[in-house]
Symmetry: C2
Subunit: 338 residues, 2 copies
Amino acid sequence: MLETDLPTPALVVDLDAFDHNRSVMSEAWPGTRLRPHVKAFKSTALARRLAEAGHVAFCCATIREMEGMAAAGLGEDLLLANEVLDTHRLGALVEAGARITVAVDSDETIAAAVAGGVGEVLIDVCVGLPRCGCPPQEAGRLGDQARTAGLAVRGVMGYEGHVVGLEDRDDREAKVAISMEILTKAHGDVGGEIVSGGGTGTWDSNRWITELQAGSYLLMDTAYAALGMPFRPALSVLGTVISVNRPGGWAVADVGLKALGMDHGNPSLAEPQGAKVWFCSDEHLTFSVAREATPVQVGDGVRVVPAHVDPTVAYHERMSVVQGGKVVDTWPVDLRNW
Amino acid sequence: MLETDLPTPALVVDLDAFDHNRSVMSEAWPGTRLRPHVKAFKSTALARRLAEAGHVAFCCATIREMEGMAAAGLGEDLLLANEVLDTHRLGALVEAGARITVAVDSDETIAAAVAGGVGEVLIDVCVGLPRCGCPPQEAGRLGDQARTAGLAVRGVMGYEGHVVGLEDRDDREAKVAISMEILTKAHGDVGGEIVSGGGTGTWDSNRWITELQAGSYLLMDTAYAALGMPFRPALSVLGTVISVNRPGGWAVADVGLKALGMDHGNPSLAEPQGAKVWFCSDEHLTFSVAREATPVQVGDGVRVVPAHVDPTVAYHERMSVVQGGKVVDTWPVDLRNW
């Protein structure tokens, strides 16, 4: 089947670009030095490709992602890099034979890990992003408390999410250093062998961690592409022009905001070339092409590049994997919802 | 089961508010004068409640919505209020006994309706929103052409989507009038008994149409709530506080941007009272409460009100229907994807 025969909107992955991205990252962060972030792709079929390349330790953002990975036989070392209270669902995975580690950042989340039957934790430390993670000065005490409660403390994690998207490289590097000095100090207080952190945006500047939590590099999006990294755009949404308004100078494709993550703003159009996005509605993308360009016709294909990969993938049931214009595989997006 | 026992994030519908909204609209637009827009809720269980109240004609935005409605026995009069080219899927619904009408706005979409075996169409007219719909001066010619091609032309539709969200009521009413004069003239050129249009924002100001296409009024969102209409907020996402950073003054709940439509911006927090949303990440909502308010604790519940209902619902598998704090029903969101 040709990709142009796919019913639209269709989420497609360029296999060559994907393999390129996977291999560039694997060279810098081989094996379990990389802990790919499942939230970026929500697909066990995609995860299996990473496992086959030696990346058998994963991190997840939701319990559903953990459950799906374990059920798919990818439960060798699963980290829930997030705080949760309904830990009994994780305990069930431990009983079924998966290795489960959960992030904790408070007395309550430590108690929940114990109550749910999760035996291993990382102390999550706030390194500057106002989100989860304990204040750094609390890390040592929480580590002690977790051990007292019978948990194995594998180390620390801290995500410099306020830094990964900074466009100026020097600025990014300087701020990674500040965040990672905080995490390194917390690690000294906590102990354990793991220092987990980072993301696609700091893949080559974070030298403090023992394992990198990155996911976006595989599929990429326009936000990360602006940072000038060696990863190629591998994800797009194919659409069809369903309406052309010649007097008005605009056309409409069937790729709307229900097929796109919109928190980073409007998507871009890779095809037709020179097209300008006006706005997205639920099931529509209104755009124009330059007057000197070839006029768009009803039935033409378009290729939309989302501004943010993760919430885009979460809207779709499957990714069609494409090589040289042919659909060579289908990866179900089987880890959606919670 | 209490709503507070639901695993979070959980999409919940307040049944009393929903019934209030349904009944206010039914009084103004009874029976088939209302053509509820399925895209706003994507659930046949919810649609069935409308059908039981006499609203047996629906409109949809995607072929999947049409297929699901027909399969659920709700195919008495289904309008695809959108242009499509892969009409063979609609033709299959006609063969299975559903009444299917599709919007057309070009020679190509008329040809597709014929080729796909769809016998009935509306001529979609652009009334000011730069999206689908033919230029008004084309409507008569397209109506003639559709009839020549053997199609039954039931009338016209035109959506004043650029007007429905205008906050100033006088402004809104004046611009509805301009749009509907365009549609009325096009109807004169096309003929047929249907003039379909409008939305929740113009439910009481659009007096030109024979049927109202409204969906958001049932569940409502913060954008429409700002217009001062009699519809009550009926939809929210319940979450759990998973982290509290006391020195920083923020807390984190497990309702992120993958559980919310973000194109209209950040959601609001209805509970705890006085909470202020800082930002959303994939699976997190960072917020603060006023210093004088009761401090937030890990494990507390939160209630998030999305800025835009439609793309919020499209992220969830189900709506839990709640009355007086108890879960009384579950409506699967069974019409997602395309």
